[in-house]
Symmetry: C2
Subunit: 192 residues, 2 copies
């Protein structure tokens, strides 16, 4: 069964109601994209009210979106379980995204710095390094070697609050966003 409402069903004429998750919506991708998570929370609330699903599936790649929606589901008491699906990668490591089609071959190669940073930090954590500042600095050095890629953010945060943590613990989110040409890409790892 597929529930695929038309745009005008979800946004009737004169629609004026918005769902805002305060605080969380201004962090990570929300800081770069004002209003974005308000749009996400509003349309997901409409879909959950209309479909009343037992489970709703979202990708881990949009980790900040997951945090915003988990908070919304808890606060508004939706009887829906948010299920997080793992990041899927191309063979070279680039996280799958609808935006990847906008990358030239050269940009695609440059974009691999994001997944290299993820693997680097996961490796450091596996070796026992848990200081947020040290993990961020290591990733920042890697990006510095790929100056055509402009960093938006490199963060080590609590996945529930999206606030920076000094020391990573199991479940801490390491997340990066960067511009490759005109294309903004994101990647992340849930640290072990």
């Amino acid at each position: 069964m597929v529930f695929a409402p038309a745009v005008e069903e979800l946004y009737p004429p004169g629609a004026a109601t918005f769902v805002e998750v305060a605080g969380l919506s201004d962090r990570l991708d929300g800081a770069s994209r004002p209003g974005h998570f308000c749009g996400v929370a509003t349309v997901v609330a409409k879909l959950l009210i209309a479909a009343e699903p037992d489970r709703a599936f979202f990708g881990q790649k949009d980790a900040a979106q997951v945090a915003v929606l988990r908070r919304m589901v808890a606060d508004l008491r939706f009887a829906t379980e948010i299920v997080v699906c793992p990041i899927v990668r191309e063979a070279d490591g680039l996280a799958l995204s609808s935006r990847n089609v906008y990358l030239s071959a050269k940009e695609h190669a440059q974009a691999l710095v994001l997944s290299r940073a993820i693997r680097l930090v996961e490796g450091l954590v596996a070796e026992g390094e848990r200081r947020g500042g040290v993990l961020i600095e290591a990733a920042r050095k890697l990006f510095a070697a790929e100056p055509s890629v402009r960093v938006d953010y490199i963060e080590v945060v609590d996945w529930a609050t999206l606030l920076p943590v000094e020391v990573a613990t199991p479940g801490t989110l390491f997340a990066v966003a960067a511009w490759v040409g005109v294309t903004r890409l994101i990647d992340n790892a849930i640290l072990g």
Copy 2:
């Protein structure tokens, strides 16, 4: 059956999600009480999601609240019918309100200017007067004769948008709010 959740069930620790009905929430009582209708929309959304009622009953006396909630129910596609219950009045005409207990006997007498204004405007409409400005001016003169009562607003508006209308039509909202001592009272009529 009564569903009466505890405060901490509706407002879990860290709750950060708000439902905002833009525009409508800043008109009539929303203009005097910033943030009030955001709180109303948020808690009613939580109750509708939790209880999934076929019908939800609200008083016409809170006419702006009704407009905000009707818009929210339409926008978020709640499968709930908003049923509006008529204003109930004391024998002397004062609209029932939990706030009436705060009125001294003298203030109670002064407060009757609100319901007199409602009756006056209903009478003018029955006689064929439909110009919003004329109806408001007639009510304003009545309030001027009771200077101890401070007018907050006197409005003739479309009940769906809460925006002023030049000419009242069946269903137009005439609404007043005024301070009697430290007590803010409201009253209204749906014009015929």
